[in-house]
């Protein structure tokens, strides 16, 4: 846009006029690191023209995200002096193990977002990001024998393109099935769960997560694999 500054440009990538959930980190990164990122990106692209090697580009994005999402200590909001720990009472090969992710997967045809938000598309969701942050956490039950094509994904907090192509990038249902078949785990619980990680963290911590824990315990889960996006 005429007269637009570089800062306005990178700000627009994070829930602005040019939302891009893979590169929204550039707003967090700040103006100077973002400038360096773009310059390096162009240089690496120039290398790719000759080598075809994309690994440097992947690493550039990873390193950019790592730097942008690593907060200074004083800015870390959720900080605890100690954490929970429960040793396994028996080998995993004798246990019923469940899967829970924050990827926003849901069964096609069923609601995919908290009722108070309506059924926004992924793109619409990025325009109502504040509503997700205040909404009641939303949990979807996913039968683990559900085929990939019956599984949708809605989560305006991250770039869902990989999750849409292959659920196992964030919700490793097929790999868990294999672990059960191999005997690494005793059993894979027949219902996996997924929620929209972009939600009220206070409500999640104080109200919903404890209820979800009781729910999966009642379904016989003895251990769980949690996959945050």
């Amino acid at each position: 846009m005429p007269g637009e500054t570089f800062k306005e440009y990178i700000d627009s990538l994070s829930y602005g006029s040019r939302t891009d959930l893979l590169f929204k980190f550039l707003k967090n990164a700040g103006e100077e690191p973002a400038e360096q990122f773009v310059q390096t990106l162009l240089r690496e692209l120039g290398e790719v023209v000759d080598t075809g090697d994309l690994s440097h580009l992947f690493n550039l994005i990873y390193e950019g995200q790592l730097a942008a999402y690593s907060p200074p200590d004083e800015e870390t909001r959720w900080k605890y002096d100690d954490g929970p720990f429960t040793p396994l009472p028996k080998p995993l090969s004798e246990m019923r193990v469940g899967l829970l992710t924050s990827s926003g997967h849901y069964v096609e045809g069923e609601p995919h977002a908290p009722p108070e938000l309506g059924e926004y598309t992924q793109e619409e969701g990025t325009k109502h990001i504040g509503e997700y942050g205040r909404a009641k956490p939303f949990l979807s039950a996913v039968p683990v024998d559900l085929p990939q094509e019956k599984l949708g994904v809605h989560q305006p907090g991250y770039d869902i393109r990989a999750a849409q192509k292959d659920r196992n990038t964030v919700m490793p249902i097929d790999r868990m099935q294999e672990m059960a078949a191999e005997g690494v785990i005793g059993e894979f619980a027949e219902t996996a769960y997924s929620f929209i990680g972009l939600t009220s963290q206070i409500r999640l911590t104080r109200e919903d997560a404890p209820q979800w824990a009781e729910r999966v315990k009642s379904e016989g889960w003895e251990a769980a694999v949690l996959v945050p996006v």
Binding site: Y62, G83, F85, A162, T169, V170, V229
Partner: protein
Amino acid sequence: MSNVFRGRVVVQKPSRTVFTQHIMGRPMSAPFDNERQTYVLREALKMLETATEPDTSIVLPEKYRVAL
């Protein structure tokens, strides 16, 4: 989970965490990289079984790649 969030996560003292050097939104792997998915999951299950104290974590050394 992706190591890009490690700074935010370790201070929360989760009991066991496997971090991958993967781009956000692809903590297990790139699409259809079944080998990497299996590897990451095996590491997670191994940690689930062998960790003896809270706040146990590892950063896997492998970099993000696309499936060939």
